[in-house]
Subunit: 304 residues, 2 copies
């Protein structure tokens, strides 16, 4: 039988942890969401984050601007000592100008973990900001949410590297989710086949005796069928109706299936045939908690 | 009569300046070109840069890799004290991963001026890196080449802000050329109408009494016809055959026309009707000199 896991249930546990940390914090968290332009789903995401914060007693101030106001809005939130964390809702321009805005956010307030400073930490497997290893680097919120869901689904080893020997297929290699996710999974010991329209890449874990090295990356000729048949975990994030849904027949028995896109990426038979062990149909409720978790971490580190 | 200006002729003057600077330099310049993947035009550009460097007695080492080698190639060129400047030839992945690579280049070796550190200096009109104003910020090479060509064409005022009161239309708002160019022209005093598929934006110069402030930016309803009829300078960079060529009838008499794309963007009648004052059909020969000029600047600053 395939168990469908509701990420909101997993999120509940993290919510309790965060509540305890909030009580210990010396200053209430104050987050700012910057909503510019008129991309309708962004408002939905922003209100969702606002509600999640409100439930935890966290201040989340949603600031709205025309698209040309975003740049100065980021600068003033960067400069404002009262603001602990910034979420910018993209797309704003829908061009590479959005990347300029993303890089403009102070990494010390980038609670989504999207700045290239954090990307470099991640890809180079440098888990701490300082030589004394007291301040942890920030991880991007959606990949982090997915890794926590893999753990919650029981796919982590209790000792050693948590995904040692596991094979994972990820459909999506965006800079925001798919590529950082593949890298994180490889650093945890997995062999990851990463597919996008450009074909597959193989993210290889660092050698077991060098767990602090970075993953390596190789071209591969592996087919979708071969990768899926070999995979303990299959993660999809393809925002397209033309994606060929992953079917039960393609899976390895006992696989964990996770979809982080808002499109259907798995065929219904993945649950109905009972071949997969678990199916997690969405990750959103975990993502917002990871943003708050990052915010707490940055608040502590910036204060210390 | 419309004068067609060959940018190679203008470049000749800069070449002599650079030759003199090279003789005064304490150490020979050593530049590295990183060519990864199989985008054919990149090899052409790289060989062109190599020839331009060779004519000036500058070492330009072209390093070739498969696409997955680019990341470590950048890291090792960053770490190598013998390397004064790095040029990375894009596209490599042709996705946002290329932006990650661009940000990975040490800004102190980014002789093309593409890193977000330099973009922030430019957009905020901070022309120096240090408070004592001894070390100038690096400007992106193609926009800089275009501004130098505007000057060479005689469109700069001799006193005050060089483009005070001028109106400019730019077709292209990419992060690599069109947007930084519009910002630079506005900081020099021009009103700039920037067009792309997304419509026009108006880059407004800082007030005359605050020349160190940043340009401002406004939405505008101006049409292409209105902008062209008002413009002293028209600059195009549209890499598409479907772009409606700019015709003589659309121009203000005496305009300066510059095309920086490799596609034809101006109708032949712009030259044959004699309405424009000058036409500059390409900028490439100037761009490569601006890269070398940036390299010299960074070498001096990093040594000092």
């Amino acid at each position: 039988m395939t168990v469908t896991i509701d990420p909101a249930t997993v999120a509940q546990r993290f919510r309790e942890e965060i509540r305890a940390q909030l009580q210990a914090a010396r200053e209430p968290l104050h987050l700012v969401g910057i909503l510019a332009g008129d991309h309708a789903p962004s408002l939905t995401y922003a209100l969702y984050a606002q509600r999640a914060c409100s439930e935890l007693g966290i201040g989340f101030e949603l600031r709205r601007y025309p698209r040309l106001g975003a740049e100065n809005a980021i600068r003033s939130a960067n400069a404002d000592a009262e603001v602990h964390g910034i979420i910018v809702y993209y797309p704003i321009f829908g061009t590479e100008q959005d990347v300029y805005l993303r890089e403009l956010v102070d990494p010390g307030k980038d609670i989504e973990g999207l700045h290239s400073k954090w990307a470099r930490h991640l890809y180079e497997n440098r888990r701490f900001v300082d030589a004394d290893k007291t301040r942890k680097a920030i991880l991007p919120c959606t990949p982090l949410a997915i890794v926590k869901l893999v753990e919650a689904a029981g796919f982590f080893h209790k000792t050693g590297r948590p995904l040692e020997g596991r094979t994972v297929t990820v459909f999506n290699r965006s800079e925001v989710v798919g590529r950082p996710l593949a890298s994180m999974l490889a650093h945890d010991g997995a062999n990851v086949y990463s597919f996008d329209v450009d074909g597959p890449l193989h993210f290889q874990p660092p050698p077991q005796h060098e767990p602090d090295a970075a993953h390596s990356l190789a071209e591969t000729e592996i087919t979708r069928a071969e990768a899926l048949a070999a995979s303990d975990i299959v993660i999809t994030g393809v925002p397209s109706k033309s994606f060929e849904l992953v079917r039960a027949a393609e899976l390895r028995p006992g696989a964990l299936c996770i979809n982080f896109s808002t499109y259907k990426n798995f065929s219904d038979d993945v649950v109905s045939e009972g071949k997969a062990a678990c199916f997690i149909p969405r990750v959103g409720p975990m993502t917002v908690l990871m943003v708050i978790r990052n915010a707490l971490r940055l608040q502590q580190q910036n204060a210390g």
